[in-house]
């Protein structure tokens, strides 16, 4: 993908104890403050004990991008044994920075220096020594390395100082001092080194109109919830969704709102629905196994037409699967999980800003269409950081609930009445003149149980028809086409986090002269049939890449539209490689596939 101006991807590798994640964090905060767009994805060890490998990757660009790059520009090793497997990711003329006198004794072959490719530029530095000199301890190694990178590439030293001070402001002053000293020592060293790299750092783009926030997908969900006025949250911890709850239980009470850890996922969704029935915006968050447990309750939310919002961050499945790996294999469960004809709204954001927007819109939609709304993230999206810029004028509707029309005296409230716009009037406990009972049984317009054929047929139609309006919901783009206009050789249909890599691959394919377009689909259910159909009409071949084995979205697209797509499926537990998509595009366009870099 051709990015105007700056485009630099930096990876720190080490153990948790090395401060790998911390230093990556400072880098992204600083670059965001400097005005760049940042996207970053850290990988943590799966084990409880912190002896596992950490990788912190940050991509700094001049304009908004949708994914990490496949190749690394700068690799920093804080522990060679963890960095070696990543050496091959560094591009030609990319920098590899490592300690020339590592922490522990190592055998021949255990040094990263022996694993570099010709063309990669090694910077073997006395990192530990510099740290000891600057701070009296080796604990500043990570900061020395970060300073070196900043100095070498000419990044803004002052914003780093600001961010370091901010990060350690609750710690004793000496901590800030030592970290700054280590950073500066590294910076001086880097500034004096020769930069072989062809890439230059452009000035940050013109200051955006609105403040950039540095958010992970999960924290964007939290911001979306708060911005939409969430009143009640119920959740049960599960990787990779737990951090949503952890932030909400911290933030909501500050605003006088209520968040509660429940005894399991069934109670979490049940309480969410209970609160929704009582008229407040409520939500829960989980991952695939928890969503499986919620399937019965989702049906109640559908049948009783009570709003609920469910955030689901997908991880490797089936079953307990791979809790700390990413995957897109809970789509079928999200769309079809429930007994009976239990259609619901499913949104899948493609980037961090989308997480914010989908979160807020989920509350609007749940309320307006009186239905469960599932927002489907995945571990990659939940945990990756991006700079998010949203206009403060963009607000979510404070209430989108259909107003109550009190029953005439002596009459019963028609909670499930058929109306012109297909949506029944709600009533909330506490409102006089609106008394009614909702139920999981089929029921008539009053909410009274009925198993008459015509009532069940009409009500089924009502429940489905109202959802079809959601594809026109204001303020959210549910499909969007990128790339070449008109007829193309290959059209890529992509969803969720994989859209980012798809877009990147599409751009590269266009650079190679392939006529190519990509469509992101954000609303997975009900499927926006018309724009997808039109997109498919315009493409010679349609490619649908997704991180699952069965081709779940491909099945839904073909199942709904009755037409075939080319599937690209894999389940590595990591984001899809741009090269894999690119090769598939080439193949479909009749070009020769190339070896992956």
């Amino acid at each position: 993908m051709t990015i105007n101006g700056t485009d630099l991807q930096i990876a720190f590798c080490g153990s948790a104890g090395d401060g790998t994640i911390a230093v990556g964090d400072i880098l992204k905060q600083a670059m965001a403050m400097a005005g760049y767009r940042v996207i970053a994805f850290d990988q943590y060890p799966a084990e409880i004990r912190g002896f596992g490998k950490c990788v912190s990757r940050t991509r700094v660009t001049g304009e908004q991008v949708y994914s990490m790059k496949q190749q690394t520009d700068i690799l920093v090793s804080l522990d060679d044994s963890h960095a070696i497997p990543h050496a091959s990711e560094v591009r030609d003329f990319g920098a590899v920075i490592y300690d020339n006198a590592p922490m522990s004794l190592m055998m021949e072959g255990e040094h990263i220096s022996g694993h570099l490719q010709p063309g990669q530029i090694p910077y073997a530095l006395p990192i530990r020594e510099i740290s000891e000199r600057a701070t009296g301890s080796n604990r500043g190694r990570n900061m020395v390395a970060l300073g070196f990178v900043a100095g070498l590439y000419g990044l803004q030293q002052d914003v780093f100082h600001t961010i370091i001070a901010r990060k350690f402001k609750t710690k004793p002053a000496a901590v800030t001092k030592d970290n700054t000293a280590a950073f500066d020592a590294g910076f001086d060293l880097g500034a004096g080194e020769f930069l072989f790299d062809e890439v230059s750092i452009g000035a940050p783009p013109a200051k955006a109109k609105h403040e950039a926030r540095m958010l992970s997908g999960n924290s964007a969900v939290v911001e979306g919830c708060l911005d939409a006025g969430i009143e009640a949250y119920f959740g049960y911890p599960i990787t990779p969704a737990t951090t949503i709850m952890e932030r909400l239980v911290t933030e909501m009470p500050k605003r006088g709102k209520r968040a509660l850890q429940t005894e399991d996922e069934i109670s979490a969704i049940a309480a969410t629905i209970g609160a929704g029935y009582a008229g407040v915006r409520s939500a829960t968050a989980t991952s695939g196994p928890g969503l499986a447990l919620m399937a019965e309750m989702l049906g109640l939310s559908v049948m009783a037409e009570v709003p609920s919002v469910i955030f689901v961050s997908q991880r490797g499945g089936p079953s307990t699967g791979m809790p700390t790996k990413t995957e897109q294999s809970d789509l079928n469960l999200a769309v079809f999980g429930g007994s009976g004809d239990a259609q619901r709204i499913v949104l899948a954001p493609t980037n961090v800003e989308g997480c914010w927007r989908c979160a807020g819109k989920a509350f609007e939609m749940a309320e307006r269409y009186q239905t469960p709304v599932i927002v489907l993230l995945d571990l990659y999206l939940s945990n990756r950081y991006e700079t998010v810029i949203v206009s403060p004028d963009e607000r979510f509707e404070a209430s989108s609930s259909k107003a109550m029309v009190p029953a005439k005296s002596g009459e019963k409230y028609q909670r499930f009445a058929k109306t012109d716009d297909g949506i029944s009037p709600r009533a909330i406990p506490g409102q006089a003149g609106g008394i009614h009972t909702v139920t999981g049984l089929e029921h008539n317009d009053l909410g009274r149980p009925s198993d008459q054929a015509n009532i069940h047929m009409d009500m089924s139609e009502k429940r489905h028809n109202k959802l079809s309006k959601a594809v026109d919901h204001p303020g959210i783009t549910i499909t969007k086409r990128f790339g070449d206009e008109g007829d193309v050789e290959v059209g890529i249909l992509a969803w969720g986090s994989t859209f980012g890599e798809s877009l990147e691959a599409m751009m590269l394919a266009r650079d190679e002269g392939i006529k190519c377009a990509a469509m992101k689909v954000v609303m997975m259910s009900p499927l926006p049939e018309q724009p997808i159909s039109e997109f498919m009409d315009s493409a010679n071949e349609v490619l649908l890449p997704e991180l699952n084995y069965e081709g779940q979205f491909a099945g839904i697209v073909s199942g709904t539209l009755g037409r075939p797509v080319n599937r690209l499926n894999m389940v590595p537990g990591t984001p899809m490689r741009v090269d894999d998509i690119l090769n598939e595009i080439r193949r479909l366009a009749g070009r020769e596939a190339k070896d992956a870099a």
Binding site: T250, K257, R258, I266, A271
Partner: protein, 297 residues
């Protein structure tokens, strides 16, 4: 099978016939569908009277039911209602109460709904001291599904799922709920309607989680064990000197399932879930009082 397509006959219409006949006298617009003589009938009277006597407004009361013969209760009373899923009353009620403290929430359900499929939720509603009232109708059987063994079925009882006889020791709900730390625990009997009505009122009046265990014969599927005849002989009032602030004394009474003691076994006042959530908001810096004042405007 065109017959299935004809217009629905609403229960209301049927009710008129029956009310005119003078056979029944209920306070809501709908006709209970329980078997004649069922213990559940005692509920309608008891709940409606209590709500009335406590001076509550209809629209500020929510009745939550799960699945079982109690399911339809919300339809028989003139308050807001939520007929939820089998075993899930308490978490739904917790959600309702979390959303709006001002509502009076009454949960009704059976022994299977509560202690089989829903058994995992009771400890947590009790521990959190959610300010709701849980009326549990224990008939020692699954009524709605036509007569299977329940967690409180007695040993030796023959049902459609224990045709050779039930050999499992029944659960003791009152001991269980006491062990969970419920802040109000009482026992009543559908055959003693007047006492039951009084107990329902006390249970609703209690601020916190109140659990009322109601022994309630299923006249259709139990002809041998928990019949009115047997229960009339077995029940007794709690001893006059029973100290309802003493958890262990309550536990001992709760253990006497052969001679169930009717009355308030245990009660204590401690912060409710809402109290705690407000306290948390206050520690977090929110101005809860201002919020309440605003709401009152």
């Amino acid at each position: 099978m065109t017959a299935e397509l004809k217009e629905p006959v609403y229960l209301e219409e049927k009710l008129k016939d029956i009310q005119d006949s003078g056979r029944l006298d209920f306070r809501s617009g709908s006709l209970p569908t329980w078997c004649p003589g069922c213990g559940y009938y005692s509920m309608t009277e008891g709940v409606t009277n209590s709500l009335n006597e406590l001076g509550l407004k209809n629209e500020n009361v929510v009745c939550v039911s799960g699945i079982g013969c109690a399911s339809r209760f919300p339809f028989f009373v003139d308050v807001y209602g939520f007929h939820t899923l089998h075993g899930r009353t308490l978490p739904v009620a917790t959600g309702i109460k979390t959303a709006n403290d001002d509502l009076t929430v009454v949960v009704v359900g059976g022994d299977g709904d509560g202690f089989a499929i829903g058994g995992g939720h009771i400890p947590h509603a009790a521990k959190r001291n959610v300010d709701i009232t849980y009326l549990l109708f224990d008939n020692g059987i699954y009524g709605l599904t036509k007569g299977q063994t329940s967690p409180t079925s007695s040993m030796g009882f023959k049902t459609s799922t224990t045709p050779y006889e039930n050999r499992e020791q029944p659960l003791k709900p009152l001991m269980m709920v006491l062990s969970y730390g419920a802040s109000w625990v009482g026992q009543a009997y559908a055959g003693h309607q007047h006492h039951l009505a009084g107990m329902i009122k006390k249970a609703i009046a209690h601020r916190g989680f109140s659990y009322l265990h109601i022994l309630s014969p299923c006249v259709t599927f139990d002809k041998t064990d928990m019949t009115y005849q047997n229960m009339n002989m077995a029940v007794r009032p709690l001893p006059e000197d029973h100290d309802s602030s003493d958890q262990m004394a309550a536990m001992i009474e709760a253990g006497k399932t052969d001679a169930p003691g009717l009355g308030v076994l245990f009660e204590e006042i401690r912060p409710t879930l809402s109290d705690n959530l407000d306290a948390i908001a206050t520690s977090a810096g929110a101005d809860i009082k201002a919020k309440t004042a605003q709401a009152a405007e």
